[in-house]
């Protein structure tokens, strides 16, 4: 009862924090895509560079988010940027890079060599092969990377409340420090639903964007 009361009384607040949450992710993901996908493509021809890039990205992702925010506050403080939306966006970008770069790389590399040979033999240029063959075949895998990144973004942004970026973390952390159970519960449910919803929505989008022929050949395996 108290739960619904809280929701009705704080509708505006919930909407505001939800929008802020989505705003951070909405800024970060396009940046991450703009970096991750081209990098993934660029390194697909250089095995050594690819290993180094993937290693760096995975080290970055292994750093716990609270620690990453800690570093960011510490390192960006001199520039007066350690607090608020910018470090939150940077953190989401950093965590999104690995899934995006790795999935793009794997998707581009795993295209059947016979397919590439046929395309080359037919007189496609390298660029044509990239855009007409490799990328369409890679879309589902890249989308899976994006989904990974988005789900992580939801989670990381929750913690970004602690460095003043606001967002849905407000209900959990503020509720915890005031020991207001109902607020914590509302926060937990909102955050959980947003995570599951993002995952599900992007999964559907992934299915929508997968070329039909690829879907058919997958279901046959």
């Amino acid at each position: 009862m108290e739960f619904f009361e809280y929701i009705f009384d704080n509708g505006d607040r919930i909407l505001f924090e939800l929008l802020r949450h989505l705003q951070i992710i909405g800024i970060a993901l396009p940046i991450a895509i703009a970096i991750g996908v081209p990098v993934g493509i660029a390194i697909s021809n250089h095995k050594k560079t690819a290993n180094v890039v993937i290693y760096i990205a995975s080290v970055l992702m292994t750093i716990p988010s609270l620690a990453l925010f800690g570093f960011m506050v510490a390192l960006l403080a001199p520039f007066n940027a350690g607090i608020g939306v910018p470090p939150a966006v940077i953190a989401v970008v950093v965590y999104s890079l690995l899934p995006l770069i790795r999935n793009t790389l794997v998707a581009i590399q795993e295209v059947d060599p016979a397919t590439v040979e046929a395309a080359t033999g037919m007189g496609m240029t390298k660029t044509q092969i990239l855009f007409k063959i490799r990328l369409p075949l890679a879309v589902p895998i890249i989308m899976a990377g994006l989904r990974n990144a988005a789900v992580m973004g939801v989670s990381v942004t929750t913690i970004a409340y602690l460095i003043g970026a606001r967002g849905l973390g407000y209900f959990i952390f503020s509720g915890l420090s005031r020991s207001r159970l109902v607020m914590v519960l509302v926060g937990a449910i909102l955050v959980g639903a947003l995570g599951i919803g993002t995952n599900y929505g992007l999964l559907k989008l992934e299915e929508l964007l997968t070329p039909r022929g690829v879907k058919l050949s997958r279901s046959k395996e």
Binding site: A114, V116, E117, A118, M124, G213, L216, S217, K220
Partner: protein, 375 residues
């Protein structure tokens, strides 16, 4: 287009290993030449140097006497059809889009592309309506191979390179595809270079055969000469011991059937009585019976007809029979006849129209002549 290889060489490992070693030969215009030899002898390497998927390390390749170096690599490939063993169909594209790739690269108008795709699907015996918008995953192995072949023909190239294009198919369907392919080449008359592992396939399809070993050419000649006069023991071992039977594979029914034979048209001769009269007049004990447009219905014998009433319908006394198509080889004809217990077999075209008959005795005589040359 004629293709000439001049001292063509491909070295690997800084020259320590020669995959193709100084070979020179000319692929004749409008002929199908087969490259055959043991695994690793350099067939694929030779083929891929022609469309520059592999760069040669020595010698030259001349297209109608023009060096490959004078041509742009991408344009060259668009003018050469290419079909590979693993087919390499683009799984994210429909059958239509797969075949349309090179025409689109060459910027053909869409209508022309559509007509071309339909034409090609009919050529490889697939109903365009039914298959045009399917995806590779919805096709059988044999259908995929046909699309692969159709795709290599798409932009009407002068030259087609095929690397074991039927390699991944079971023997029965492979034979059907080979028949269809011979019929296609009969129509299009392209310069085709065809790699295979299978000596039977080589003999059946090739106008000429190149036998390779260790990056060298062991023998290059018309198919019939390779079979009749193998250059050395290597070629003989490749041909195998049953050369007489192999020889039959090289010859096709279309050159060995007879066209003067007795047939009854059921459209005109309707009763048993008239049929009997006709047979007696021709002094024959049996005759093939055809229906509308000369389509083969079966055969009838005097013995059987005499047991019937003269006013009975002839159609009801017709006995069904096996038949064979003109592009089948003589080996297939023998098998069909032995299995069905026939001493002669009707030859029909793809619409089942009766063209003639082939006699078992003819086949035995031909086999005999090969056995003689083997001694």
């Amino acid at each position: 287009m004629q293709i000439r290889l001049k001292n063509l060489t491909k070295k690997y490992d800084n020259g320590a290993f020669k995959a193709v070693d100084n070979i020179s030969l000319t692929f004749d215009e409008s002929k199908l030449t087969v490259l055959i030899g043991p695994s690793g002898c350099g067939k694929t390497t030779t083929l891929k140097m022609i469309n520059r998927l592999i760069e040669r390390t020595g010698g030259d390749i001349l297209f109608d006497e023009k060096s490959i170096d004078e041509m742009d690599r991408i344009n060259l490939r668009r003018k050469i059809g290419y079909a590979i063993q693993n087919i390499g169909l683009f799984i994210h594209m429909s059958v239509f889009d797969n075949i349309a790739v090179v025409p689109r690269l060459l910027k053909w108008p869409e209508q022309k592309i559509k007509d071309r795709v339909e034409e090609l699907l009919e050529l490889v015996n697939l109903d365009p309506e039914l298959h045009m918008y399917k995806y590779p995953a919805q096709l059988s192995g044999g259908q995929k191979q046909r699309i692969g072949v159709a795709r290599s023909l798409a932009a009407d190239p002068d030259v087609i390179l095929m690397d074991e294009p039927f390699g991944a198919i079971d023997p029965i369907n492979r034979e059907k595809l080979q028949d269809a392919f011979i019929e296609i080449q009969e129509k299009i008359k392209k310069t085709i270079i065809f790699v295979t592992h299978d000596i039977r396939e080589a003999i059946k399809l090739g106008d000429k055969i190149v036998i390779m070993n260790n990056g060298h050419i062991v023998q290059y000649d018309d198919t019939i000469n390779v079979v009749n006069q193998p250059e050395n023991e290597f070629v003989e071992s490749l041909l195998g011991s049953d050369r007489a039977l192999k020889g039959l594979e090289m010859l096709s029914v279309k050159d060995n059937y007879i066209k003067d034979f007795v047939s009854i048209n059921a459209e005109e001769v309707k009763t048993v009585g008239t049929a009997l009269e006709y047979l007696q007049k021709k002094e024959k004990s049996y005759a093939y019976v055809v229906g509308k447009k000369g389509i083969l219905l079966g055969y009838c014998t005097t013995k059987r007809l005499q047991k019937k009433d003269k006013h009975d319908d002839l159609i009801e006394s017709v006995i069904k029979t096996e038949s064979i198509q003109p592009y089948s080889n003589l080996m297939e004809a023998i098998i069909t006849m032995v299995e069905a217990g026939l001493t002669s077999c009707p030859v029909v075209n793809s619409k089942d129209q009766l063209l003639g008959i082939i006699r078992f005795k003819t086949l035995v005589d031909i086999m005999g002549s090969f056995e003689k040359s083997e001694e």
